[in-house]
Amino acid sequence: MVFGLLLAGAFVGSDDDFPFGPFRMYATSSQSTGQVAVVALEVKTEGSDWTLVRPSPESVGMNVAEFEGQLPRFEGDPTLLGAVAASRAALHPDEPPWTDLRIVRQATVVVDKVPTGEVVETVLAEWSASDGARS
């Protein structure tokens, strides 16, 4: 039965069915020319300018892949970034709270499988403690 579930998970399941989901480590194909993107956070504290923060278990309790996994949720509902600011405050109660938070996509341009060094940045979702969320 276990192996039946395992095979079913691998062929038709999704990550949600863990431990029986598909074994998709680096399973997607990517194009030889295009962009290689990674998401990052930019934050403001009271009176500061935007600062880049790499999501990590230490900084916000979640890593880059987890932000990428929940990206559609953040884009659909930027107020969810308020929960990220709250997680930050829970992890680092002694540091100044984040007043503004946005998720950015940093894309490295790749031409014919070789990176050109050019990085394109796009804001995907934005939230402010004072006036709520902006997309």
């Binding site: 680096y26 194909s29 932000f67 070789v114």
Partner: protein, 296 residues
């Protein structure tokens, strides 16, 4: 009459032979010392894994509940939303169980308690997986390790110097071996399912190198054919991996040595190593020989 019966029903003979061959394969006896040594390996690795190598789940206790997206298993059971306390209890609870098991295995004491502690370690580790993987990312490097934690308590009493052959120990190790091979084979299936057959010619590894490449891998970006060749190599390796289950033990040992070096090389290039999986590769090795001289 009797000769008719013989010609009409040849199937039971075949069926019996097939069944006995299958059972012989699944339950091929191994020395109890081997399962004891493998238990030591697994229960030494468990604390390292949850405290040092992949302790990130612990941070999830502080993450706001809105960001918890429980996996199907977490919704079915239903498991509680992680809090700092829950995370600590699970994390250190299973570390305590693993340490307790190591002491009991080394002294060959309290086999029944060992079974319960082993089952507890499996349940806690599974909950730890739900805590770790319910925030947007699921890892697939520890299926065989979960299988190991699940089957180890079933193998019965085993001392590190007990060379008595045991079919239960053989079955448990076979299950782990199948878990290891399934991980490779089904990873290839996933590549074809999600990436298509074109995966082998895509830039997936180049992408990984850009995102997390080391000094050993970065120069290869300028020679994309090397990365493409590795992709062909990986897919072929993964698809033929089931052969490993049926070759002679000596050959298995060479293949395991090769696979370990493959995983180490991957780590040197893109800083990714599936440690729980690598530990489970030891299920193919005659671990009992570390403490016991082979009979000559």
């Amino acid at each position: 009459m009797s000769s008719d019966a013989g010609t009409q029903t040849p199937a039971p003979g075949y069926a019996r032979r097939i069944t006995s061959a299958v059972n012989g394969w699944w339950f091929a006896p191994v020395p109890r010392a081997r399962i004891a040594a493998f238990r030591v390996l697994v229960y030494v690795f468990l604390p390292l894994d949850v405290l040092l190598l992949r302790p990130w789940g612990a941070a999830h206790g502080h993450v706001a509940a809105d960001l918890y997206r429980p996996l199907l298993i977490g919704r079915l059971l239903p498991l509680p939303t992680p809090t700092p306390t829950l995370v600590l209890v699970v994390q250190y609870g299973m570390v305590a169980m693993a340490v307790g098991l190591l002491v009991l295995i080394a002294r060959d004491r309290a086999p029944r308690l060992q079974t319960w502690l082993g089952a507890g370690a499996f349940v806690f580790y599974l909950q730890w997986m739900v805590i770790s993987f319910s925030y947007g990312k699921v890892d697939h490097d520890r299926f065989a390790f979960l299988v190991a934690l699940a089957v180890l308590p079933t193998a019965g009493r085993a001392a590190l110097r007990d060379m008595t052959p045991s079919p239960a120990a053989g079955w448990a190790l076979r299950m782990v071996q199948v878990g290891v091979v399934a991980t490779y084979f089904l990873a290839a299936v996933a590549k074809v399912r999600f990436g298509g057959w074109g995966w082998v010619n895509s830039t997936t590894i180049a992408r990984a190198v850009i995102r997390r490449g080391t000094m050993f891998a970065d120069p290869l970006l300028q020679m994309p054919w090397t990365l493409q060749l590795s992709q062909w190599f990986i897919v072929i390796l993964e698809f033929v991996s089931p052969v490993l289950l049926f070759v002679r033990p000596k050959v298995q040992q060479y293949v395991v040595a090769f696979l370990v070096s493959f995983h180490v090389m991957t780590f040197l290039m893109i800083r990714i190593i599936f440690m729980p999986h690598v530990v489970c590769l030891a299920a193919f090795l005659p671990l009992e020989r570390v403490l016991n001289r082979p009979n000559r």
